[in-house]
Amino acid sequence: MHDATAAAHPHDLGHGPHGADSALIKGDKTYGQVTEEVFAPIERLPNKAWFAAVALTGSMLALGAWAVFQTLTKGIGTWGLNKTVGWAFDITNFVFWVGIGHAGTLISAILYLFRQHWRTSINRAAEAMTIFAVMCAGLFPIIHMGRPWVAHWALPLPNTRGPLWVNFRSPLLWDVFAISTYFIISAVFWYIGLLPDLATARDRAEHPVRKRLLNLLSLGWNGANRTWKHYESVYGLLAGLATPLVVSVHTIVSMDFATSVIPGWHATLFPPYFVVGAVFSGFAMVLTLMIVARKLMNYEEYITASHLDAMCKVVLTTGSIVALAYATEFFVAWYSGNPYERYVFLNRALGPYKWAFWTMVSCNVITPQFFWFEKFRRTPWIIFILCIFVNIGMWFERFVIIVTSLHRDYLPSSWAMYRPTFIEFATLIGSFGLFLTLFLIFCRVLPMIAASEVKGVLKHGQEQ
């Protein structure tokens, strides 16, 4: 990265002419073609299928809004929680959505620093998913507060409430900082990356209002060498800043559990294990949506089989690390000789929630192993199905960790079962509605592929 400015193109980070980069984009495209193909979809009106999709996801969102309204007007009693299981569906959804967000930052920041040029075709959409997923995640703790209108009390603001002050020792407060920082940095990073493309959209715009609006949004980008140079510095700096955030957010989320003294929750392995699980689920979600989007939007020459292959390898690697973490937890629970630790893990595998546990193991441990075979890594419909299973499995992982650890703890007289209510299901469906609606809008309003970055890895103009 240090000599990025000396390279032929700002985004060519100095690999020289040889290497696999030349094959990243199929179809031997020219710069003009890339511009045309990336920007054309956002310059015409969406088709009927898009409206149908938005109607569906909008209905899901409306159902969720109804559920949240019920929760807020009637109270948390509309959920299936009880005195023993005080966290369940809601916090599962929260951790699930935070996890989904991780692929975007990993792709945009870490893969950038590692000079993985295949990221250029997918980073824009993945980063958008990060932002939408964090929005969905943030909703759940706020709803769980019961009185979301005082959500700002979670911020350490000077106040007139006397000595009432946030508890800096609580990992729940660390969450507030971690997630808000993550959201802000991800959004800024995404927006900065959008600037050159917004400027291209502006230059192509015909309607004066659209032109003015895009000019404003692109901060008057002029494409000068100096502008590019500054842009590159900022982008590199933001990548450096965002890299620790990939790790910190889920580390803090894991500490919501791991700082406790509950067997099944208190494990020192949790921080890296949660981070890897988050990347695993995030990549599965990116693959799920991108496989549909590349087909519907004709981006198959941009998001090629090689891209899918690389992403599947990430899913395989992280899935295998997650499997190793499960095995480690079980082994150490046995090894510890601690009867409570041993019981919690036996109860997970053989107790009343064993169906959830075995769903988790089947989806998270077995499913990714199919990606050992190159044929599976390059066949979109197979990837799509496998990644759906990974998404299901990762949702269940959080459910298993949260519910099975709580429902039977030290005091057998307090043992209880947890069953989710319709309101809770509706809230989860609503969060998917929000996520998908935002994604659908994004696909139609902003260039889904980072055209300026893709041009940097084109074969065209490099070797002539």
Partner: protein
């Protein structure tokens, strides 16, 4: 990024090996003499720790055994990781990680010798373990024949799968799978079982983080040495320090992350049987070493490698590498010694010096011939 580094050299461009440079033959001989001297002196000094129950002899030998294993595995892991990510920056520096696994058979020897000190090191290997409820529960896993049988198994897998992996690309991913499992179990076995009641699920990753950080340091220092002796391929104009500097920077931060995860969670939860060992390390005689460990593995290398220009300076790389090597030794010392001495004040003296000399001598003798062998650099 070093552009020239990624240009594949034609066979005739490869360096011609030590055999053609008289000064280097002499240097090689001098270094070998020094290494033999260090090995013998180290072994003798180690024996001075045989008194008072022999904890300092066996403890230092365990530190040396784990350390040498970590050097070998660090090389193997670096090769596998760069291959799986299709990395090209690492091409010119692969000589060192290819040579480092040569130390593994010697490390196995050290680990096997520990059989004779089992009762000194491991509470579960003592006769009174049979009456201890907690140790009795684990007896199926922690008993002498199975324990040392596993040691042999781990080394067989590392050595043979490692060799296959170095020769054939298709073995890289299977090697990684076996590596993840065996390294985890080895960390739990060799070090965590020193402390009977204590357990931490992150322990294997903590060991891995230190191992890989040290591996990068060894590779970085070898790369500097190879370039100074003119043993890098001809195509390589300047040493590929910059990328290794970034790796050192990143993995010192990773080590600190894992260190913090373990420390913070145990300290925060404050569960008596878990927090005990941490309390010992935070108490007066150990605390300075405990924080020195953090400085050597994180604060110093992280800040030395933060600056862009510093990553290009060979002297800076040597310093950072040396600090990390010292840090990894101290890290292992702090994992292994407090349970052995029952929390008594640390004693740093001749046996510890002996252990370090022994490690350096053995490591050099195992790695150097391969490192400087003809046509091995590319």
């Amino acid at each position: 990024m070093n552009h020239a580094a990624s240009t594949p050299a034609s066979p005739s461009d490869r360096f011609e090996g030590l055999g053609h440079v008289p000064e280097l033959i002499r240097l090689g001989r001098t270094l070998r003499g020094a290494a033999v001297g260090a090995l013998v002196l180290g072994a003798l000094l180690l024996l001075t720790g045989a008194g008072q129950g022999g904890a300092r002899l066996w403890g230092n030998l365990l530190v040396a055994g784990v350390n040498l294993t970590h050097v070998g595995l660090g090389g193997l892991f670096l090769v596998a990781a760069t291959r799986l990510t299709n990395a090209r920056w690492s091409d010119p520096i692969l000589a060192a990680p290819h040579a480092m696994p040569k130390v593994l058979p010697w490390a196995l020897g050290v680990m096997l010798v520990l059989w004779f000190g089992a009762a000194v090191l491991y509470p579960w290997a003592r006769p009174e373990a049979a009456s201890d409820h907690l140790l009795h529960l684990r007896a199926a896993w922690l008993n002498k024949p199975f324990f040392w049988g596993r040691i042999v198994l781990y080394f067989v897998l590392w050595h043979f799968l490692g060799r296959l992996m170095l020769r054939r690309k298709s073995f890289t991913a299977p090697f990684m799978v076996s590596f993840g499992l065996t390294l985890s179990l080895a960390s739990f076995d060799w070090i965590m079982s020193l402390e009977p009641a204590w357990y931490s699920t992150i322990f294997a990753i903590y060991g891995f983080a230190g191992m890989f950080l040290q591996g990068i340091a060894v590779v970085a220092m070898s790369a500097v040495a190879l370039r100074r002796f003119g043993l890098l391929p001809h195509g390589v104009q300047k040493s590929p320090n910059h990328d290794l500097g970034k790796m050192l920077f990143a993995f010192s931060a990773f080590w600190a992350y894992i260190w913090l995860s373990q420390f913070l969670l145990i300290w925060y939860a404050n569960i008596p049987e878990e927090v005990g060992p941490i309390k010992v390390l935070l108490s007066r005689p150990w605390a300075p070493l405990y924080f020195l460990n953090l400085a050597l593995n994180f604060v110093v290398p992280f800040h030395l490698m933060l600056n862009r220009k510093a990553k290009d300076l060979e002297s800076m790389m040597l310093w950072a590498g040396a600090v990390v090597l010292a840090g990894h030794w101290l890290d292992l010392y702090l994992m292994i010694f407090p349970p052995l001495t029952g929390g008594a004040a640390p004693k740093l003296g001749l046996p510890e010096l002996g252990g370090i000399l022994f490690t350096l001598g053995l490591g050099h003798l195992a790695v150097w011939p391969r490192l400087t062998r003809k046509k091995e650099t590319l």
